[in-house]
């Protein structure tokens, strides 16, 4: 093969690769360059991340999630903390810690709970922020500035926002 392969020239391959990453890696990928940032912020990637191991994602979930702020926000705000906390809580014979984020086994209850909390988060933003502090701030908005107002889910967040 004489030609060089630049990943940036093959975005579909890039997307396929990014699809298989865990959340943190996806966040890191978003810091590489503008192109990667644009791709990594694509909500469908995060949707895939959130629900790829759920046996049957319910119909209508996407409409709701997109309306409430998108999958990336869902992941940052609810899914990741829920899974992290519950991973420690549930005494299931899990693989080693490094596997945790990759093998995301959702139960129906966890899905429901995450969605409910996400909805509460949205409502608080609407209620307290008057519609401000929206999706643009993403997960980051919650850690500082006006995002700090939506505090009912503060108990969930602790980690660094990539």
């Amino acid at each position: 093969m004489g030609t060089n392969f630049f990943i940036n020239d093959n975005q579909d391959v890039l997307i396929e690769i990014l699809k298989r990453l865990d959340g943190r890696s996806l966040g890191v990928a978003a810091c590489v360059c503008k192109l990667w940032c644009g791709i990594a912020r694509n909500d469908s990637l995060w949707e895939h991340l959130c629900f790829r191991h759920v046996s049957q994602p319910q119909e209508g979930v996407r409409t709701v999630v997109l309306a409430l702020g998108g999958y990336r926000r869902l992941y940052m705000v609810c899914v990741r903390p829920v899974l992290n906390r519950l991973r420690k809580w549930r005494p299931i014979g899990m693989e080693s810690d490094s596997e945790i984020v990759r093998r995301v086994y959702w139960t129906r209850h966890e899905v429901e709970l995450s969605l409910s909390l996400f909805c509460v988060d949205y409502y608080e933003r609407v209620l307290l922020g008057g519609g401000g502090g929206g999706g643009g701030g993403g997960g980051g908005g919650r850690h500082g500035g006006d995002g700090a107002r939506t505090t009912s889910l503060m108990f969930l967040c602790k980690a660094v926002n990539v």
Binding site: Q58, G60, V61, T63, V64, A67, L68, P81, V82, R85, L86, W89, H109, E110, E112, L113, L115, S116, L117, F118, C119, V120, Y122, Y123, E124, V126, L127, A148, T151, S152, M154, F155, L156, K158
Partner: protein, 551 residues
């Protein structure tokens, strides 16, 4: 010191009394006696509960005296002394006091002289000269004892700021002080119960001093209870409920954010409502406690995602009038409508402003024929117990609505006993546990303001339980068993909250750092959330007795 022990042996027999955590505990068999203070009995001291107050006072004085002489090298007393005759601590304390009086030149100690003369002039404290009759500290003369004690303790307490400015009162062990604090609180409540307001006054001030030596939850609880007691003693009642309602809403929001109790309440109630509404196309929820409407987004979302699509959802919110006539209910309704529209659920809202739930009329609510009704009350029903017949009226109104399900969330405690002292003790335990759980939530990056506001929220409840009476006392919490009896006799049958609710609640709690302390319990179909072993709130669901198979 040896001379103290010698003194002991020559003591005359006093009352059986003793309360001294300061001293090393003498190992004796435990004695549980109905008339004795149990906590101290465990330590080997026999104290009649009725004597507690006096003994407490005596020991405070001793400690004050000791505190001032601490630096003179009698600290060893606190650790070295073995108390040979614990049943006569009173007399021994007397000897200590007189001993200290002789060894120090501190004028203060003249106060607590047993056989000495009455009034001693205290440097720069003019108030004391105004005390009529002096402070004869004579334990042999019972009728005088209380008044003289309160006099002496008043003196002592007034002079304690002087001590404080020179040297802080050295309290030997904060754990001991903690126990003493609790005992003083109870003694004060008992004094109030017996309408001995002088003694109560003295004790309440002392609580303030003791509370400062504590830290964390104990200190806050003690402070709130002391304030409430003071209000009761001085008859300064919190006024003007109307202004308070919007403030209470704000406080409750902070409480919502700091700890899982309200979230638990909302999630479990929502689950019950959701299950009751399966296969219904038109649903109507009547919420007795709309506040900021934090319960409903989750339900709306769950309805949106239920198999078969969302029903059309009607919400009737009921709330108190706002001070500046702002229509808070409508604002909340509008925001919920926004949410519902975003998610794609047909939504209708109506708000009713009323001072009391009993003023509601079923016809106003416009219950439509084809809809399934749910009634939801979070921490509201207990207010109706403040006037006779109100709760029965409201339950009748609920029945007229023909609801599919009635969800009730209430505090799990009996703060409605007729006897003040019982109420006080119950409340003390309950709120101590509550504050403890709030403290533990500090392990997360919780906004400090939220924590403080949550505590204020609880503090107001404390104030109401302790200081108010009659129609003003609205925080009339009752236990789940009491509510069960009431609901059963009013024509409601229990609906079991299923395993879904339990699982969801357990997961929710696991998410809270400090989640180790929270416990979800299932109690005969109802769910209770508690802190360690103490259940704090309970969710229950009810349906009309005749309603099985209907709709």
């Amino acid at each position: 010191m040896k001379r103290y022990r010698d003194r002991e042996k020559s003591l005359t027999q006093g009352n059986s009394s003793g309360k001294a955590k300061i001293w090393e505990q003498h190992e004796e068999e435990e004695e549980k006696d109905a008339g004795m203070d149990e906590l101290l009995a465990v330590l080997g001291y026999k104290v009649k509960s009725s004597d507690m107050a006096e003994v407490a006072n005596k020991l405070e004085q001793l400690e004050m005296a000791m505190g001032t002489t601490m630096e003179d090298g009698i600290t060893h007393l606190s650790t070295d002394t073995v108390h040979k005759n614990p049943s006569d601590l009173s007399g021994w304390v007397q000897s200590m006091l007189s001993e200290l009086n002789n060894t120090t030149n501190f004028d203060e100690n003249g106060l607590v002289e047993s056989n000495k003369q009455n009034r001693t002039t205290i440097i720069s404290d003019d108030d004391l000269r105004a005390i009529p009759g002096g402070a004869v500290f004579n334990k042999l003369n019972e009728p005088d004892l209380l008044s003289s004690e309160s006099g002496s303790s008043n003196k002592r307490l007034r002079s304690s700021p002087i001590i404080d400015s020179a040297r802080p009162v050295v309290l030997v062990d904060s754990q001991e002080t903690g126990v003493r604090l609790v005992h003083t609180l109870m003694a004060c409540a008992e004094a109030v119960q017996q309408e001995n307001f002088n003694l109560a006054d003295a004790l309440v001030r002392h609580i303030g001093i003791l509370a400062v030596s504590q830290s964390g939850a104990m200190r806050k609880v003690a402070t709130y209870f002391a304030e409430a007691l003071a209000r009761r003693i001085y008859k300064i009642y919190p006024q003007d409920n109307s202004i308070e309602s919007s403030y209470t809403d704000v406080l409750q929001m902070h409480f919502y954010e700091t700890c899982p109790y309200l979230k638990f309440a909302h999630f479990t109630a929502n689950q019950a409502i959701l299950e009751a509404f399966t296969n219904c196309n038109k649903v109507h929820v009547v919420d007795f406690s709309l506040k900021q409407g934090m319960q409903w987004p989750a339900l709306i979302q769950a309805l949106a995602l239920r198999p078969g699509g969302p029903p059309s959802f009607r919400l009737t919110g009921i709330g108190p009038p706002q001070p500046n006539n702002t229509d808070a209910l409508q604002q909340v309704g509008w925001k919920l409508a926004q949410l519902a529209e975003t998610i794609g659920v047909e939504f209708e809202f109506r708000g009713f402003v009323t001072n009391s739930l009993a003023d509601l009329d079923c016809s106003i609510l416009d219950i439509r024929e084809t809809e399934a009704v749910a009634v939801n009350s979070v921490f509201e029903l207990h207010r109706l117990l403040s006037r006779p017949r109100m709760i029965e009226n409201v339950l009748n109104i609920i029945k007229q609505m023909n609801p599919k399900i009635v969800t009730i969330v209430e505090q799990e405690a009996n703060h409605n006993a007729v006897v003040f002292l019982d109420r006080f003790n119950e409340a003390l335990h309950y709120y101590s546990t509550m504050f403890d759980s709030l403290e533990s939530s500090l392990t997360q990056p919780v906004n400090n303001q939220d924590l403080v506001m949550s505590e204020v929220y609880l503090g107001r409840q404390i104030c109401n339980v302790v200081a108010c009476e009659g129609a003003d006392r609205v925080e009339r919490h009752e236990t789940l068993s009491q509510w069960r009896v009431r609901m059963n006799s009013s024509g409601f049958d229990p609906v079991h909250l299923g395993s879904n609710a339990f699982k969801q609640a357990s997961m929710l709690l696991a998410l809270f750092a400090g989640g180790d302390g929270y416990r979800v319990e299932e109690n005969d179909g109802c769910l209770m959330l508690g802190w360690h072993t103490r259940p704090l709130i309970a969710t229950s669901a009810w349906q009309l007795t005749a309603a099985r198979g209907e709709l």
